[in-house]
């Protein structure tokens, strides 16, 4: 799946486009769309895998680029890449849409009842979003500028039994249960118990990170 992505723009290309936008070049928006639209849509569709979300992803990315082209001042290049900034902006909108839909329908949107790749079958849209947002956050906020409380909280999670063992795998976007089972030392367990345990630990990790994210917002 990862090899299937269209390449994201290089930092040099990002800088060129950003400069054009700042200078108010009338074609800057066209360059922005050409460089970011397709790779962003592809990246997000690999996270929000359900086909019913694909139109939403298209629209959210287009709206994100449309908004950004008119208000480039809200991006601070010193804080990280434009790619991650835009990706996080779009993620935020998709998460909000998913939350609104959840509230409207009165139940959690679950992907259990839809056709998905096996590894993602039990993940809610929110979980998928967190999975994707977290590494982007860490990249957008340079290591040296992480708030003290964040570093401390992350270290606590990293040092926690079980959670620490899977943290790096999860952050790298690894999906295969076998890798997690090996990290947890349960590779010899029966398949169903192994899957159950991995899911349990991943859920705990996500809950901890979600709470941490809420504190930071």
């Amino acid at each position: 799946m990862k090899d299937d992505y269209a390449p994201k723009p290089t930092r040099e290309r990002e800088a060129q486009i950003y400069q054009m936008l700042v200078e108010g070049h009338p074609r800057a928006q066209d360059h922005l769309v050409r460089a970011f639209l397709f790779p962003m849509v592809q990246k997000l569709k690999s996270v929000y895998t359900h086909h019913s979300l694909h139109d939403i992803v298209d629209d959210v990315v287009i709206d994100t680029l449309c908004r950004f082209g008119k208000d480039v001042g809200r991006f601070e290049p010193a804080r990280g890449s434009l790619w991650h900034y835009l990706l996080m902006d779009a993620h935020g909108d998709i998460r909000n849409l998913a939350k609104s839909a959840t509230k409207r329908s009165g139940c959690m949107i679950s992907l259990d009842d839809v056709e998905l790749e096996p590894a993602e079958r039990n993940e809610s849209i929110e979980t998928q979003a967190i999975n994707a947002v977290w590494p982007a956050f860490l990249e957008y906020v340079p290591e040296g500028q992480h708030p003290e409380s964040l570093i401390e909280a992350l270290n606590t999670i990293r040092n926690a039994p079980e959670l620490g063992a899977i943290f790096d795998l999860w952050q790298e976007g690894v999906r295969e249960t076998d890798h997690y089972a090996k990290a947890l030392g349960i590779q010899d367990w029966p398949s169903d118990k192994r899957k159950q345990k991995v899911k349990q630990v991943k859920d705990r990790l996500i809950t901890r990170l979600r709470r941490l994210g809420e504190k930071l917002q």
Partner: protein, 151 residues
């Protein structure tokens, strides 16, 4: 995804973006669409007028429109830049944008007049329903025609 599929998907997304951007007066697509609608020409015909292909029209549509708020003083410079970038007629592009802006402002003027007339009609209905000669708070001082005739 094969290279061919990838190109098709990129084209689809860019067309979708162009449609979305054309709803926003900040972008050139907004004025190109208005021009097409008012003059009853297709995008392909407009491309011929400008001297470019339809693919270039998609790109042109997502560009910032010359002369939008904040860039009023750069209208000519922007038209020049865009015509050079897309190899299109500078004078035709300027004419099309100016015409479209006129159509848009005419439509906005018509909408304002309509809304004033509508509020006057509602106020008149309020007075009629009150039936006691009292003046409704929503009543405008004068009908729009009277305001117009005083100018």
């Amino acid at each position: 995804m094969t290279a061919e599929n990838q190109n098709q998907e990129m084209d689809r997304l860019r067309r979708r973006a162009a449609r979305r951007f054309s709803e926003d007066p900040f972008h050139l697509g907004f004025y190109l669409s208005h021009y097409c609608a008012e003059r009853n020409v297709t995008q392909a015909e407009l491309a011929l007028i400008l001297g470019c292909d339809e693919n270039a029209m998609t790109s042109l549509g997502v560009c910032r429109a010359p002369g939008v708020p904040g860039f009023e003083h750069r209208f000519e410079e922007d038209v020049e830049l865009l015509s050079t970038e897309f190899q299109i007629s500078k004078s035709q592009l300027a004419d099309i944008i100016n015409n479209a802006r006129f159509f848009v402002s005419s439509q906005e003027g018509a909408k304002t007049t309509f809304s004033i007339r509508k509020s006057y009609a509602i106020a008149a209905q309020d007075r009629e329903e009150a039936g006691d000669g009292t003046i409704s708070l929503s009543r405008p001082e004068d009908p729009p025609d009277a305001i117009e005739s005083r100018r």
